[in-house]
């Protein structure tokens, strides 16, 4: 399998990756453009020359075996990898035309525009209310009426309002796992970002909570561009518009979800989605 992947690296790309139909689905309205992105943790390369466009107001899913670099790629989009001192990147990501990997780019501003929901729900050890308004308080907004309004709107947006509206001043850590994860989504949408990144948001949840979050994502599509990493291929096929398959740091195939799952163009993609390797 590794020979196939190295051949594809050497021959298909970089020569004609821009033309390879398996990597270039038709995208009218790209919000994010990743170009020739490579990333190293120290000496170990985790991403290899990845190029792709992420469309606005759609859900893009990343699939691939464990360790192939999905989380790493996701964390490039809000530059969360900056927290890891040994990380080095090459290439570029453009967000509405602006190059966000530029060292002079304001990362705090970027992270206000690109929210993130993590695999392990991570509410702050504060009240439910304070969790939701955290991002607003950072922006210096402290007017009670504004905050109240945002709390209600965000919790409703995250389909959590009915469950917690009487206990907003209770500790967020007292919520169930699924509720905590939806609280994290509420916290992310409270600052009205343009993009929301999800890193395996449902991997620790039961089917009902998973269902709720999937419905929520479909609901949020009209306002947000969403990117999700998932190990659950049914989930990817249920909710995403586009799917990218990664393997060992390479982007192997990227296309419309319906087509990719029904008629994968690359052998590796087919092997993975039919469960023949992983």
């Amino acid at each position: 399998m590794s020979t196939v992947s190295s051949e594809s690296t050497l021959q298909d790309r970089p020569l004609d990756s821009a033309l390879d139909p398996a990597l270039n689905p038709p995208i009218d309205d790209p919000l994010l453009e990743i170009e020739g992105l490579s990333l190293w943790y120290g000496d170990a390369q985790a991403l290899r020359n990845i190029s792709m466009k992420i469309p606005k107001n759609q859900i893009t899913a990343y699939i691939g075996p464990s360790g192939c670099g999905k989380s790493t790629l996701l964390r490039c989009i809000n530059r969360l990898n900056d927290l890891i001192p040994i990380v080095r990147t090459e290439g570029d990501i453009r967000f509405e035309g602006e190059s966000i990997l530029d060292p002079s780019f304001d990362t705090n501003l970027l992270r206000k525009r690109v929210g993130m929901v993590f695999q392990k729900s991570n509410p702050f050890p504060k009240t439910i209310y304070e969790n939701v308004v955290y991002g607003l308080r950072l922006q210096g907004i402290s007017q009670k009426s504004v905050l109240d309004e945002v709390v209600e709107k965000s919790l409703k947006g995250a389909a959590l309002w009915d469950e917690v509206k009487d206990r907003l001043q209770e500790r967020a850590l007292g919520l169930s796992g699924g509720q905590q994860q939806r609280l994290c989504i509420a916290r992310a949408i409270a600052v009205e970002p343009e993009v929301i990144l999800y890193d395996e948001p449902c991997s620790a949840l039961d089917p009902i909570s998973t269902n709720k979050i999937e419905e929520l994502m479909l609901e949020l599509k009209k306002d947000y561009t969403q990117v999700i990493v998932t190990h659950n291929m049914q989930q990817a096929s249920r909710i995403s518009d586009l799917t990218a398959f990664m393997y060992l740091g390479d982007l192997i195939e990227y296309g419309k979800t319906d087509e990719l799952f029904i008629r994968p163009q690359k052998e590796q993609t087919e092997a993975y989605i039919t469960g023949r390797f992983g």
Partner: protein, 459 residues
Amino acid sequence: MNTWLLIVTLLVLSTIGYQMGRRRALSLVDHPKQLNSLPGYYGSWILMWGLLPAILVLGLWTASESAIIDKLVVADLPTEVRQLAPERQNLFLNDAKNLASGNIVSSEVDATLESAADHITSLKRTSATARTLLALLLCIGGVALGYFLISDRLRAMHRVEATAKVILGIGSTIAIFTTVGIVLSLLFEAIRFFRMVPVTEFLFGLEWSPQTALRADQVGSSGSFGAVPLFTGTMLISAIAMVVAVPIGLLSAIYMSEYASPRLRTVAKPMLEILAGIPTVVYGFFAALTVAPVIRSWGQGLGLDVASESALAAGGVMGIMIIPFVSSISDDVISAVPQGLREASIGLGATQSETIRRVIFPAALPGIVGGILLAVSRAIGETMIVVMAAGLAANLTANPLQAVTTVTTQIVTLLIGDQEFDSAKTLAAFALGLVLFLVTLVLNVIALHVVRKYREQYE
């Protein structure tokens, strides 16, 4: 046989037993796998049989030997000695023992004393022989018994583990009983003190001058035991110490855990922790000889009246000593805050300092408070620095530039020198010790509770 020689002999015998046990276990089967336990456990099984009963009897024998010999000697004494008052009888017995072991004797040596001494010597000799024989017999018998009990069915591992568990349990019981014993002795002596000086006077009296008359006819010094100046002195010095230690310790903990590069951390953290390894005597003379004069001359420069031994010097230096307590506990607690919270905060657009201020510090606060409480109890119990740098004058003051004294310092001075052991002055030390113990106990319990509660939050 000499006790140590005997113990070595027992060990050698049991070790031989260990080897025999292994061999025997292996000889019972064709392949070690058929044994119920690893061969070594059969060895340990014999070791156990050889050593434990012998050591146990040896210990009991040694512990009770002298009491039994005393009884036997006394029973054999002529009637006129037996009818003496108990103290006199004791004196006589002591003399006899001294004579028997060739030491100086306080009274004249007469025939009764000599015969008693001879009796003691012969009893001791018999006892030693009997002890040696019994121990060796038990050891050899134990090894033999263990050897014959070995079969391929014997669950040697199970038995050895069970015995080991009992021995460990006994060890920790001893530790607990020692603690209880110390506390009880503190308590009883303190109660004796409170029979002489009322509790209320001790706890609320404002004057501390523990000089009591040594003889009944001495005038003018009945002593007053109001401990309030000691409590306030202790609090003043601990407060100064915390004012120094908490900010510096916390800031360095935050820097070490959040900002410092790994390389700097590996160098700087141990260096900070060296502070905790400096003997307190060294801090003491640093405070008394270096810091106190500097404070005094600064004070004079500002027109302030500074005592040559001041609470400020002692407290300040104590604070430096305590920095590593605060910083290393805080560092641990801050590092234990889940990385997910940092990423969540940064991911919402917070800067690193906003993240620390709004998320990490509040999340770590309970643990940090626990660490600070532990540091406070350390400050309260600290003795050497205050003895050397804060003085002995029991002033009731909140002025850090004056000399004050602390509970621990007074305990030291009360017990230094020749004292009657049951005078109020000496017993006062136990009362102070009891108070000190209770305060630090409460602080530690609260601190541990707070720290544990905090840990549970992130299960």
